[in-house]
Amino acid sequence: MTVFATSATMVRGSSVTTGWGPGLQSLPVDAHMAADGCRVVPIATPVCHDERLRRATRECVLAVVAVEQALANSTVTRSELAGPRTALIYASASAYAAANWAFLVEDKEQTVFFPYTAASAVPGEVTIQFGITGPYLSLLSGANAGIEALWQAAMLLASDQCDRALVLGVETFAACEDLFTAGRWLLDAPLVEAVTCLILERHALLGEVDYSAGSSEDGLTMIDARLESQTTAAVSLCLPTAGDTHHIGQRLQDRWPDLPVTVVSNRVGTCLACTPLIGLLLSLAEARHGHVLLISRWWDVWSVLRWPLVADRLSSRGERKDG
């Protein structure tokens, strides 16, 4: 597996698991065709033998496993992660739905301990499991939460409030498939479950991370302004609906025909707040120089993050890959 891990890079480790399997390499070329009509592509629930997590929800277990995998794919040790100098920024649009709904309808087969209905339960279990006592935040702004989480992590690192930041995204749909189907006008199929963890560290170019958000036409003007920058090397469209993707994709094609554009949902499907995290990893894998523009939208609000592409392409053992 390819990871982006060295003391000189911002992304020191990462893990991606989607309904398609582990890693970026498991993503299909065309998620819509690969789904073959399935509305939800679930992740297999990991087996967890940890007694401490016996009452935890599936989402908590998925999150803990994702952090373990990110650690395994990095040179960061578990003991480095523990303590007040690690921040945890969590992003999700859906991972609380299963526990909330089960508690609401009093599903006897899925007895949920009430505290696990809190959205903060998922990152909470991660902090407990890894002894993290640093800056801590859960962002729940739908599909825009992933971009907001990357921005918050960059802010915390740039202001020296932590030495490393975990950005954790969890999106699950299987337990509430009927609800998501009922709300089908909001989202495109396939809904692909995803868990993504990035371990970020400080870098000289961190100050170049730039976040902005705006509604409707204001948002599009804001995107245009950032695209005018000579350093924009690529665009990653992280949108939850085909309509938005088509609209902005056409606009980009008309105005900046030479700019490489990745439509993340073509590769992975709809995975909401996880999409920008996967989009960033896909951009880093392409080893371009300059900045990638991550673009998401939730309801009326466009979110844009300019992120410097500074990662070297490394093997899982931290060795530079040629080419």
Partner: protein, 386 residues
């Protein structure tokens, strides 16, 4: 600032209720409670019509609270008549429950897809953003019952990053069967009065409400001819990494949040005049908070007043910390600190000055606002009166 609370709707009524020691705790009437061990809380019986126009409000109760609070806050900040094109207004709302009230409504009315769309955490925030015609970022976050502090911290980040010229930030939560049922199951609700820091304290009661503030760079506000009501000097939100419900026995996360917020503000413990505590009235929270205050501030902790508003209104969850932040700024403005209600018997392990009985004449220029929540969330603000 804007307030919807069980002891008063609007900042003036809220402040009067705090000073007079009004209790907003009543029997819950809005939904069935026959199967609950404790059926009291800080329920808002009806929303006073404070909105000037006849635009229909969304059905979402949390959104209604937010819209009323925002109307007051925008008016006070004189931003209500500034054209949207002249500003990049953002909204940051923290909540422990989000749109769960709408999920309950959808459960009762499965054909009501509007209720389903409003059920996610960000449902109430989106309603508010639409109502205000927001042109900038629209952020929803949750650090459980510390959300009302965290939202102000993220609001300040948006201003610093230049992503917004003004931010409407704060917290909201409503009482509903979901949360009353949950806390009843946990047996954390008291059948007695809520008694923060008192030896007899044995649990909390829940409440509902919304608190919002308009945040802006001081220079930008003054340029518009508006004097700031207070300043946010520092903020931090930190994890306990200890337990999913109980606070860390040593209060590590809270201590880290206080120290980091003070460092960010560039102040030492000696500068602190007042602490607005989380003060839920549970045995563990009040003990841990007191220990942490003494560790962080040393002898200064004994010299300054510390209060809790949880006995006035119940624990209004995501709204609580913003409502308490507003109290800190009002305390500076009016030179009075509201009391901790129902405090009568000192606890040897909670040995600070908790402002018992009645409001005190005191003008705290520099205040700390602490908050904590499920899953080891802790947050702290450093506030200064203008």
């Amino acid at each position: 600032m804007g307030v919807i609370s069980p002891i008063g709707q609007g900042v003036e009524a809220y402040w009067a209720g705090l000073l007079q020691g009004v209790s907003g705790i009543t029997s819950i009437e809005r939904f069935p409670t026959h199967d609950m061990r404790v059926a009291r809380g800080g329920e808002i019986k009806h929303l006073l019509g404070m909105l000037p126009d006849n635009r229909p409000l969304p059905a979402c109760r949390a959104a209604q609270f937010l819209i009323h609070a925002a109307h007051e806050a925008m008016g006070m900040a004189r931003l209500d008549d500034v054209p949207a094109t002249n500003q990049r207004l953002a909204v940051v709302v923290g909540s422990a429950l989000g749109g769960i009230g709408e999920a309950e409504r959808f459960l009762d009315q499965p054909q009501n897809l509007h209720a389903l769309a409003g059920a996610p955490y960000d449902g109430p925030t989106r309603h508010l953003a639409r109502w205000l015609g927001v042109t900038g970022p629209v952020v929803t976050l949750s650090t459980a019952c510390a959300s009302g502090v965290t939202s102000l911290g993220v609001g300040a980040d948006l201003l610093r990053a230049g992503a917004a010229t003004a931010v409407v930030a704060g917290g909201v939560d409503i009482l509903c069967r979901f949360v009353m049922h949950g806390f009843n199951r946990l047996r954390s609700l008291t059948r007695d009065e809520v008694r923060p820091f008192d030896r007899r304290r044995n649990g909390l009661l829940l409440g509902e409400g919304a608190g919002l503030v308009v945040m802006e760079r001081a220079a930008a506000a003054r340029q518009r001819g508006v004097e700031p009501l207070g300043f946010l000097l520092g903020y931090a939100s930190c994890a306990d990494g200890s337990h999913i419900t109980a606070p860390d026995p040593q209060g590590r996360g809270l201590e880290q949040a206080m120290r980091l917020a003070m460092r960010n503000a560039g102040i030492s413990g000696e500068a602190v005049d007042f602490i607005s505590a989380h003060g839920t009235g549970t045995p563990a929270n009040d003990r841990v908070e007191t220990q942490v205050f003494k560790r962080v501030l040393g002898q200064r902790a004994y010299a300054i007043p510390v209060n809790s508003l949880k006995a006035h209104m119940g624990h209004t969850m995501g709204a609580a910390a913003t409502l308490e932040t507003i109290m800190c700024l009002l305390a500076w403005r009016h030179g009075q600190v509201p009391p901790t209600l129902n405090y009568g018997e000192p606890d040897p392990i909670c040995d600070l000055d908790y402002v018992p009985g009645q409001a005190r004449a005191y003008r705290p220029r520099l205040s700390l606002k602490t908050a904590a929540g499920f899953a080891g969330c802790n947050a702290c603000l450093v506030l200064a009166g203008a």
